[in-house]
């Protein structure tokens, strides 16, 4: 019955959207305000519905948000066009900044101190395993299928970059699934710790790889070792901005105001605007800000409470827009290679995680459950793909298409696998299916 009602609402929402579009058509060009407000309103409700349906089929809500975004986007129903979604990029960045505050706020030094060894081993082993497997296999594949028109050098270099990009994760996805399932424990801590630290290391590795590629190729988009310097500037400036924002947040949170949600939205916007202006990374700056609040003040819990209260709308906006932006054409073009990449990467992640945890002397079951938290890929990987495409216009776009196609699969499969692992590990407080049951105690929004 609940499922049928959701389908009825979805059909009605879709009918309303199509009718509105038909009525608008004779009126001519619409304003960006009309396009973006209509797109966001529709996307929020549509994705929310899909999120609820996802829980019925035991998938995480964010998978529902992603699917809804992809369906509403230009590659399927076309209700949310790229033009309509363009002004929503600030919302997207704002949501990412708020998720990053949360990621930083979860990193309590005291909690992680005795697990530093295991974090480092897992991080190192995973990175090495994934890179080696992807690089080795795809060097052979690229040469043998002649995807880069007979150039062995380009094939090897492309495999090198692909190997580095394959090591990237999505802290936002990990945080979203952990928040939704209200998980806590060694597996969740491992996932958050590794994804956040890896977000920094992968940027450095990618900078070095791009520089090496440039040196090997002898030509390109004018990058060279200056690019590595730029990456270092980005990292240093992001950390500095994050620390400064963190102290501003502490001074506000130490005041008496308990309604921190609006303040956090304001701070999120400030982080985004400063980072866009300085051309640095909002994700890293916001993680740093959350980290400072958690570890330098006693207001970490107040910050997390404010974020938890508004986390769902943030996740809906972020992941439905991510879904809307997924390039389905790229996926259809490259799906066999992308599937190979995903499988090889998963093997590397799984064995790397188990090896790292065991080597650090911790229970191997942590690695067996935690590895699924490193499958999801999103913003950073897509950013790398864009950079490769721009810097190496002759062969970069083909590699970028493969990366994007891989991200599409990882981002759909990753959260589902992660949620299942968290449930099996016993760290998930809310199990799928019991969510509806728990809600039966609450009154409905309307009678």
């Amino acid at each position: 019955m609940i499922f049928v009602r959701k389908i009825v609402i979805m059909v009605m929402l879709l009918c309303l959207a199509f009718i509105v579009r038909e009525l608008q058509a004779p009126m001519g060009q619409t304003t960006p305000l009309a396009q973006s407000a209509f797109a966001l309103g529709f996307l929020l409700l549509f994705a929310f519905l899909f999120g609820r349906i996802a829980t019925i089929v035991k998938a995480p809500m964010i998978t529902g948000f992603l699917v809804a975004g992809a369906l509403a986007g230009p590659f399927a129903l076309g209700i949310v066009t790229s033009q309509g979604a363009e002004p929503l990029r600030l919302m997207d960045n704002l949501a990412l900044a708020l998720i990053a505050f949360s990621a930083g706020g979860e990193l309590n030094i005291g909690q992680y101190k005795q697990h530093v060894k295991s974090l480092m081993w897992t991080l190192g082993a995973q990175t090495l395993f994934v890179f080696t497997l992807v690089f080795a296999l795809f060097s052979i594949l690229f040469i043998s299928i002649d995807i880069f028109h007979g150039s062995t050098l380009i094939s090897v270099v492309a495999a090198l970059l692909l190997g580095i990009v394959a090591t990237a994760n999505s802290p936002a996805t990990a945080i979203a699934v952990i928040t939704e399932t209200r998980s806590s424990g060694p597996v969740s801590n491992m996932i958050i710790g590794v994804t956040v630290i890896k977000d920094v290391t992968v940027i450095i590795l990618f900078g070095l790889a791009i520089s090496l590629t440039e040196a090997l190729m002898g030509a390109g988009g004018g990058v060279g070792f200056g690019f590595a310097g730029h990456i270092l500037y980005e990292l240093a400036a992001s950390v500095a901005v994050g620390v400064a924002i963190g102290f501003v947040m502490i001074s506000y949170l130490e005041g008496g105001d308990d309604n921190v949600a609006l303040f956090l939205v304001g701070m999120g916007l400030i982080v985004v605007e400063i980072c866009l202006y300085l051309e640095i990374r909002p994700l890293l700056a916001a993680i740093m800000a959350g980290f400072v609040v958690e570890n330098i003040s006693a207001k970490g819990e107040k910050l997390m409470q404010g974020l938890r209260r508004s986390s769902l709308p943030i996740f809906v906006i972020f992941f439905s827009l991510a879904g809307q932006g997924l390039d389905m054409d790229a996926f259809l073009d490259m799906w066999p290679l992308a599937l190979t990449l995903v499988i090889v990467r998963m093997i590397g992640v799984r064995f790397g995680s188990i090896y790292g945890v065991t080597k650090a002397g911790e229970d191997a079951s942590i690695g067996r459950f935690a590895w699924t938290g490193f499958v999801g890929q999103a913003g950073v990987s897509l950013g790398f793909a864009l950079m490769i495409s721009t810097q190496f216009p002759e062969w970069g776009p083909k590699l970028a298409t493969l990366i994007v196609a891989g991200v599409v699969i990882n981002q759909i499969a990753g959260p589902i696998m992660m949620k299942r692992s968290l449930m099996l590990s016993g760290e998930a407080e809310i199990e799928t299916g019991s969510q509806e049951k728990k809600l039966s105690d609450n009154a409905g929004l309307v009678s």
Binding site: A37, N259, L262
Partner: protein
């Protein structure tokens, strides 16, 4: 006008917040219009509310129209539409200032204060309806030209859309949700209402107001949607005011002059209307009846919302000028409100 920290291009990124603010402003007034609650209000109070709102609307419309004709170089139709929008915003009052000051006012005046708060809540109705009808008959799509045929079609469209959105909400609301899910649903719903209105060049305030009226009359008074809507009042109000500030056009003396005249005429008309007609409902509190118009000086968030609604739907200079006048007048009214409210109801009745 300000530090210019936010470039024009970046302002477009704030569109979702604008939609959210306007959707909320209309809905929150609409949901207060339940048949059950209105039936409890003395008919004389409703009559007084309507009369004073219409007197102010008509008076400010005439004065603003004349000033605009002499000062600004706009077409007659654009001048009329801009003046009408300013007049509609002038007609409304805010109960918030009265509510905030109530604890410091004499207890013996609580009866009068309650009635005045009711009037200040209800006088937004003619203004929002007037704006909604104006947007239909002088639609932005036709370049503000009057069209009876198009007007009827747009008005019908507004009502049909409002019914469809209310049905959609009712379907959504039948399920059980956590607090964060309710917030998501509410935000999505408010942005969708405003988005549809902007998409079809209707008034988001009017559309969300009608949706609110429908919901108020089909849902139970204790439904969580109402609690959720009122509990989010502070952040949404702040958002609306921040956006108003960001979109404020450059300062100009001529606009300030018009705003001062609007403030003076509005105040005078409120006082006159309440003096002539106020005795109908306030005769047991004679001093309140005498100066009651002063207590309706504050305008609240709906005035800039009306200005934003116009600014973001219509092209040309008229909306920019009208928006600036509305905001300047609102600031002046909010500054004057504490003094004038104390003057009106601050002393014991004679």
């Amino acid at each position: 006008m300000g530090l210019d920290l936010i470039p024009r291009g970046e302002m477009e990124s704030l569109n979702p917040f604008i939609a959210l603010g306007l959707g909320w402003a209309g809905l929150i007034y609409g949901v207060q219009m339940s048949r059950e609650d209105l039936a409890k209000v003395d008919l004389a109070v409703i009559r007084l509310t309507l009369v004073q709102a219409l007197i102010v609307l008509a008076g400010v419309l005439i004065i603003t129209f004349i000033l605009f004709v002499f000062i600004f170089n706009l077409s007659v139709v654009e001048t009329f539409v801009a003046s009408f929008v300013i007049a509609s915003s002038a007609a409304i009052s805010s109960p918030t200032a009265l509510a905030l000051m109530a604890p410091s006012l004499p207890k013996s005046r609580y009866g009068a204060i309650r009635t005045l708060k009711l009037i200040a809540t209800l006088d937004v109705v003619p203004a929002i309806i007037a704006i909604g009808i104006l947007f239909c008959f002088f639609s932005a799509e036709s370049g503000s030209q009057f069209s009876l045929h198009r007007g009827m079609a747009f008005l019908s469209l507004s009502i049909i859309m409002a019914i469809a959105l209310a049905v959609l909400f009712r379907l959504f609301g039948r399920e059980k949700y956590h607090d964060d899910e309710e917030l998501t649903l509410l935000i999505g719903y408010l942005v969708l209402i405003a988005g549809i209105a902007f998409y079809l060049r209707l008034s988001p305030l009017f559309l969300s107001f009608i949706v609110g009226v429908i919901l108020a009359n089909v849902l139970r008074a204790d439904d969580k949607i109402f609690k959720m809507l009122f509990s989010t009042e502070k952040p949404f109000y702040v958002i609306l005011l921040i956006i108003t500030g960001l979109l404020l056009p450059p300062f100009s003396y001529s606009l300030v002059v018009v705003a001062i005249v609007v403030v003076a005429v509005r105040l005078w008309l409120k006082v006159i209307a309440m003096e002539r007609k106020g005795s109908m409902v306030l005769d047991e509190h004679k001093t309140a009846g005498h100066h009651a118009g002063f207590s309706l000086v504050a305008q609240g968030a709906l005035a800039p919302a009306i200005g934003l609604n116009y600014l973001l739907t219509y092209p040309g200079e008229g909306p920019k000028l009208a928006f600036a006048v509305i905001v300047f007048a609102m600031i002046a009214n909010e500054i004057l409100a504490p003094f004038l409210i104390r003057r009106a109801v601050g002393s014991e009745p004679q």
